[in-house]
Amino acid sequence: MIQRFVRTLLGAAVATALIGSAAAQDSKVADELAKYREALADGNPADLFEVKGEGLWTEKRGPKNASLEQCDMGLGPGKLDGAYAQLPKYFKDTNKVMDAESRLVHCMVTLQGFKPEEVTKQWYSKPGKESDIEALITFIGAKSNGKPINVPATHPEEAKMAKMGEYIFYRRSGPQDFSCSICHGQEGKRIRLQDLGNLTTKEGAGFAMKTWPSYRVSQGAVWTMQRRLIDCMRQARWPEPNYLADSVIALETFLQKTATGTVMETPGIKR
């Protein structure tokens, strides 16, 4: 129902945006897109996933018949307020820098007794096949709404991950010679009509990072940060990295470090 409403809005907004006279088209298109985003913000279907995620968090599940309520997302067992905003971070118990998704999967394995391949099989949703991970991450992310992103990467392992993320950000390859920085290293650019953030600045990275996880209207699904970055690589015509791959976590660390201080507004809603 909400989805259909949002789709109608999308159609109307895009139609209005495209009919605009050729004169002053750029500012007009920008205005219409801003209105469209405002209209979308009135009802975010991600709210439904957030409620579902809360249910999955508290429900006793898996071979160990346990809930996730004792999961340590970095602030101590069960402490979720602001946890998403300070990830990725180094975890002593796994000796790894982990993002929200790899940590959640770790908890589902250790607390609930699921096999890793079992819980990650449906890491993103397909039509008719919803993803528990998407719902849980929407819930966990929302618990950081209004909190500032805080990934100073002071631990040596975190600092190393941020540097490795920086390396990947500038690494060019593939049939289009792309790196992340080709599209996201300059101010005020757009691809077709889509504005591109400059992810090398606090403002640009902050704008990008504060709204994930986010409901993607065009996809009819919540996208997690892993999904977002893996799709960037698809757009660059590279192969897909594995879900929870270290290079994706490194990129997240680099971006969250750059975005540190920006206040979270999640779940977001996007085109």
Partner: protein, 211 residues
């Protein structure tokens, strides 16, 4: 006296610091490369994985954050200029109507398991993703310069036609580490397809040069 020396030292450090900005990844660059490579499924088709390979241009551009010193840039430009190949009939200007289609197509070449392009999907130059071209197309990007009225402004001399062909074939022959892909070098577009895009830019009848 001591203060002066200290100040000079600070100044020198600041100047060298900015001139020799550390390459991305710093001392972890080698580790990062290994980690990146290890992030993909080993059983991916070989032609997928080969897309992660870097030639000298890609590697050098990354190291300098796409802003190489002029000397390094010149070397890359020479290297890339030597790769340019021409259609067998030597004709560098084709059919602007075909070029118009190729400029609009943004599909093709997506790989992976989640949302790959189906086999045989049309592959285009996707010029509008980054450039303004014909006036009627409002959904254009701004990563590249506006090419509206390109032929009208620059003219259709043999020299300009060759420049446009060469630029599309291998953009790095002119500007090392530019954002523009090297369409001919990577066989993304055939020499013949490139001649159509040349026509779209230069032909006086093309919508790029109308109005």
């Amino acid at each position: 006296m001591k203060l002066k020396i200290a100040l000079f030292g600070l100044l020198a450090a600041a100047v060298t610091g900015s001139a020799l900005a550390e390459a991305p990844g710093g001392k972890f660059a080698r580790d990062a490369e290994q980690m990146f490579r290890a992030s993909f499924k080993a059983e991916n088709p070989k032609y997928w994985m080969s897309r992660l390979d870097q030639d000298e241009t890609m590697k050098t551009c990354g190291e300098y954050r796409d802003n190489p010193p002029r000397k390094v840039g010149e070397k890359l430009e020479k290297l890339n200029a030597a790769t340019i190949r021409y259609p067998v009939d030597g004709k560098l200007i084709g059919d602007w109507k075909e070029g118009e289609k190729l400029a609009a197509v943004g599909t093709g070449g997506h790989i992976g398991f989640i949302q790959p392009d189906p086999a045989g999907r049309v592959r285009g130059g996707n010029c509008y993703a980054c450039h303004e071209l014909a006036k009627k197309e409002l959904a254009y990007g701004t990563i590249g310069p506006s090419l509206k009225q390109f032929g009208k402004v620059r003219g259709g001399s043999e020299e300009n036609i060759k420049y446009v062909y060469d630029k599309i074939y291998n953009s790095n022959a002119f500007t090392a580490c530019t954002n523009m892909p090297r369409f001919g070098l990577h066989n993304w577009l055939t020499p013949e397809q490139i001649t159509h895009i040349v026509a779209f830019l230069i032909d006086p009848e093309s919508p790029v040069n109308k109005d």
